[in-house]
């Protein structure tokens, strides 16, 4: 990481930073627990991804994003776009933590007539900015939002969460060129590199590494961190916030099933099956991890 623009370290600020990290870790725990509860409703699905990306969402929603939980359409809000519609389970978990949707509603996940469909849609869910499901759309819409906000003199920022699989799509790179060309420093892309996609490990499906070099070559300010290290994520987001002149991207290496050893150790699967009795074990393991 290059120039970190954090204030000089004092005993007081160290304490403040520890509190901040602890607050985010607590939020990440609740996001994971929310996700497990939802996963249990379906019995299978994208729980591995949700656990993996929970720390990223905890930092974004409790520490970075400007929003009003009671007014999801507030014009001055920062936009957080979920380009990966199948990660809806993760975002619903975060939206509940953020107070944008009621936690009691999570049990309707993926059920008939629920506001929380398995694949994210803007027309269904408060706080869901775009309709996902078809991958490779988020960054293009983010480009337009960022151009429009800048044009309107609105200082709100635009975040787009994408996956390593989405780096396969031409549309992602078309938007990457556009963001750089237009100097959209109000755009922050976050790439969840869990090294997996539908047909198996990303390295075997379609090689995308070296990912950081590619974004830099496309004119982006790029950082890469362990996406399950809250302190590292906070430092990185703080740095990106100060960056001016070009769009920023944070590459986050995440572990599928992170926080739940039972699922972390399981063979990596895009669509994971979890046995009925395993959900409670998973919740217990999650809790043990928090107290450690």
């Amino acid at each position: 990481m290059t120039s970190l623009s954090t204030p000089p370290v004092t005993a007081d600020s160290t304490r403040g930073q520890e509190d901040r990290i602890d607050r985010i870790r607590q939020a990440a725990y609740r996001i994971r627990r929310n996700a497990l509860d939802m996963g249990e409703v379906q019995g299978q699905g994208y729980i591995g991804q949700a656990l993996g990306v929970a720390d990223v969402l905890a930092v974004v929603y409790t520490d970075q994003l400007r929003y009003r939980p009671e007014d999801p359409h507030w014009p001055d809000r920062d936009r957080f776009l979920l380009s990966i519609g199948h990660y809806a389970i993760a975002l619903y978990a975060a939206l509940a933590e953020a107070g944008i949707i009621p936690a009691e509603e999570l049990e309707t996940y993926g059920s008939d007539d629920s506001r929380l469909p398995m694949s994210a849609m803007a027309s269904y869910t408060p706080g869901m900015e775009i309709s996902g499901g078809s991958l490779g759309h988020g960054l293009g819409v983010a480009t337009g939002m960022a151009l429009g906000l800048r044009h309107l003199g609105n200082p709100a920022r635009v975040f787009d969460l994408l996956s390593d699989g989405e780096l396969d799509e031409g549309s992602t790179w078309e938007a990457a060129l556009a963001c750089a060309h237009h100097g959209l420093d109000n755009v922050t892309a976050v790439v969840d590199v869990n090294a997996l996609q539908a047909d198996g490990p990303t390295a075997g499906v379609l090689r995308t590494e070296p990912v950081v070099d590619k974004w830099r070559a496309f004119g982006w300010h790029a950082l890469r961190v362990d996406g399950n290290d809250v302190a590292a994520l906070v430092d990185a987001f703080d740095e990106l916030r100060e960056h001016r002149g070009s769009p920023s991207v944070l590459i986050c290496d995440t572990r599928i099933g992170s926080g739940v050893p039972l699922l972390e150790g399981r063979e990596k699967a895009h669509f994971m099956r979890v046995e009925p009795h395993e959900w409670q074990i998973a919740r217990d393991q999650l809790e043990e991890g928090l107290s450690r």
């Binding site: 299978q44 699905g45 008939d112 469909p117 849609m121 078809s134 991958l135 031409g170």
Partner: protein
């Protein structure tokens, strides 16, 4: 249905949602196995997928012929472009993804790289019409409408595993480009009970009947056959004309079926705009046949997410819904053959 509804609502649970009825005979991954069998005889057959081999039954071919399978990553446009390139140098590609991505995302590549040169590329689209509860991003409700306008393209909408097994060699043998509406996973086996063989470009009368003719395609032929059997119990005599090839349409068979005083109903797993119903309607109109047509199809709207059985009921594709629609069209009243039956049968 309503009185016994479970307290807990049905869940979408899965891409893997099957539309097979409980207890129905099914065949596993018929496309993958048919392609693999064919590939043993024809070394020029190759396969491609866009990060969806596992979800389009292409994994069967991939595992049997790893050096003849090309993983293109989640990049549908370049997959179809590359399929064109493979065909240009003499190979016969089958390229699989979901129908929505083959048609919406990559249509320009299908049209200009594959169809215009008339290449033998076989595009295989999974989750056609309403065969997933994932909502509009995955429901290819208008794939036929998009593709019917594409010159040169042959379009096949199979009913079951029998259709798929027989269609695969026929598609490879056809010199030009094709699009197959893939049914994948545990696919119902239905047509082996009929005197039937898949013939590219040909419709087949699976049942004769004096009162009604159901002109159906894709998985709706399965529903049409079930509906016909149920209506028979109510003394309504229903014919079923199965139209697995949407383009070129077997206009002779369609005209023959429609030139009667029977109630003519089309059944398709597709929006009412631009699919089988409108293809049959234009065939009749262009031939000066003034028969009224009842279209059973999906509404012209973005459909909901949810459990597949719920959605098939809601949008009129379930057997119950087909039976109800036919009865309504025949006109009920005290004189209807089924008026004495107090409780309509349910599936």
């Amino acid at each position: 249905m309503t009185s016994t509804a479970p307290r807990k609502k049905l869940t979408t649970s899965a891409m893997i949602a099957s539309f097979a009825d409980p207890g129905q005979r099914t065949s596993s991954a018929p496309f993958g196995h048919a392609l693999t069998r064919l590939a043993h005889e024809r070394p020029e057959i190759v396969g491609l997928s866009a990060d969806l081999a596992k979800y389009t039954d292409m994994h069967v071919f991939r595992d049997a012929f790893p050096d003849r399978f090309f993983q293109m990553g989640m990049a549908e446009q370049v997959m179809l472009g590359a399929a064109a390139g493979l065909a240009e140098v003499g190979l016969v590609p089958f390229a699989s993804t979901y129908s929505v991505f083959a048609t919406r995302r990559a249509y320009d590549f299908l049209c200009l790289d594959i169809a215009e040169p008339g290449l033998n590329v076989n595009v295989v689209g999974a989750l056609p019409g309403l065969t997933t509860g994932y909502g509009p991003s995955h429901q290819a409700t208008e794939d036929l409408a998009i593709l019917r306008g594409c010159p040169n393209l042959t379009i096949v909408d199979p009913c079951d595993s029998v259709d798929i097994e027989q269609a695969v060699p026929a598609l490879a043998a056809a010199p030009g480009p094709t699009y197959l509406r893939l049914l994948r996973g545990a696919v119902p086996t239905v047509l082996d009970e009929y005197d039937y063989r898949f013939e590219l470009g040909k419709a087949a009368e699976l049942r004769t009947g004096r009162d009604v003719v159901l002109i159906s395609t894709g998985l709706m032929t399965m529903r049409a056959l079930q509906a016909a059997a149920r209506l028979e119990a109510d003394h309504v005599d229903v014919a079923v004309l199965h139209v697995p090839t949407i383009k070129p349409l077997d206009t002779e068979a369609v005209l023959r079926a429609a030139r009667t005083d029977r109630l003519v109903v089309t059944c398709e797993n597709h929006t009412v705009v631009g699919g089988l119903g409108e293809a049959v309607a234009s065939t009749l109109a262009f031939a000066g046949v003034g028969t009224r047509l009842v279209p059973i199809a999906l509404p012209d709207e973005f459909l909901a997410a949810g459990a597949l059985p719920t959605l098939h009921d809601r949008y009129g594709l379930s057997t119950d819904a087909v039976v109800a629609r036919v009865k309504a069209e025949l006109g009920g009243g005290a004189h209807a053959p089924w008026a004495a039956d107090p409780t309509p049968a349910t599936a």
